[in-house]
Symmetry: C2
Subunit: 240 residues, 2 copies
């Protein structure tokens, strides 16, 4: 009811690919047939397939048809998708993830942070350092800044659970987008202490700016993990 038709069509086709009804390297039924089968217009089928193509499940070619792509051989469990946000709890299972609060305070932003969060010097921000623990192992060390005016009443209790759940469910704010930068960095004393990294180990850092659907920036953060525990992946599908 609430889901748009193209989404339901996409989900059904995804299901069939996963079930092997549409096998890898074979050609899908053409858009007109699918439209007829699902009782929708061809444009709606096309929209569904556009999404699946961006997600890397299929490849469309004019004049030929739509091909089911196979599974990707370098894909591993350590991979985190870089261009599609999912909280750690959702990604790895709520029961596998705990959080340890290392720092939680309030301060005025320095010049850099004012620029990053697009706020004035007199608008206070939270500074949060959290260690995310996965199945008992230190996993990601997060250093986060958020403007207080956008995210009121944050508490340690919320930080121990999920910030994003609080923002979405309680504050009813909607996520708009994020700019993420992935870099390799040297371990500092925090990484060595909390992530149990060795002195000369490389670390993978994700620096990001996140904004709400109204365009207001609500987070600047840097997250680090050990080089041997987590990678980031992206899918490049040549479509506009």
């Amino acid at each position: 009811m609430s889901q748009p038709k193209y989404k339901r069509v996409a989900d059904e086709i995804t299901q069939r690919i996963n079930d092997g009804v549409y096998a890898p390297k074979t050609i899908l039924p053409d858009q007109k047939s699918l439209a007829k089968e699902f009782g929708v217009s061809r444009l709606t089928v096309k929209k569904a397939l556009d999404g699946l193509e961006r997600a890397g499940l299929i490849y469309k070619q004019s004049g030929l048809g739509t091909v089911v792509l196979g599974t990707i051989p370098i894909k591993s469990e350590q991979d985190a998708v870089a261009d599609c946000f999912t909280g750690l709890q959702k990604q790895l299972g709520k029961e596998n993830v705990t959080s340890k609060i290392i720092k939680f305070n309030v301060q005025f932003p320095d010049e850099e942070l004012q620029k990053y969060l697009d706020i004035k010097a007199n608008e206070p921000v939270y500074e949060i350092i959290r260690l995310r623990v996965y199945k008992g192992q230190p996993y990601v060390l997060e250093h986060t800044f958020m403007p207080i005016k956008l995210i009121p009443n944050l508490s340690e209790k919320i930080l121990e659970d999920s910030i994003y759940t609080y923002i979405h469910k309680k504050l009813k704010l909607k996520f708009g987008g994020a700019y993420r930068k992935i870099k390799a960095v040297k371990a500092d004393k925090y990484d060595i202490e909390y992530l149990e990294a060795k002195k000369d180990d490389p670390l993978l850092e994700l620096e990001q700016i996140v904004w709400l659907n109204n365009g207001q920036t609500f987070e600047y953060s840097r997250s680090r993990n050990r080089y041997d525990t987590r990678n980031y992946v992206v899918l490049d599908t040549n479509n506009f």
Copy 2:
């Protein structure tokens, strides 16, 4: 003539944003007006805006309008976009990039490579190691494998110029998509020798599988750069 209308509309709107005609944080004219102005249907305008939204220039909200987003404060010149392929020459300027061939030979693939490239043990592959040099500085060390049957007649001359130009222009093959994995790694002897990395410096590695528009895999590669010279970025726009 050859460009679709939605692309021309998107380009024109992009131009206006860059020129400041549509300033950051202001609301764009509504889709109906734009459709009228450009002499196209509203759906065509929407398609153009969808693309600009995925590219991070604007944000649309039903019931409100379309907002122009500002420039991103953490964006820097070291950033390479991770989910949209552009060759190094195109990205940094043909005149700034040269290539040094370190290894170029032919071999049978081992089991892992057979899996990665989806080929049999008796189908030979090229092994290519190239150092890409940017403005005289060692920049990226590429280790590439390609099946010979897909990319015939490769030569050192082509490698010194651009493999992708050869594939596109001469072989008339079209790029389909890529799965990319970004990780932090320790420097090995090649990195120290060619990238002039220090012994304990971290390196950023991009491991990727690339396929053609017919679904055939034509490249498996690992590219490394020094941690202080290049980062990867992605844009997460919450849209299907």
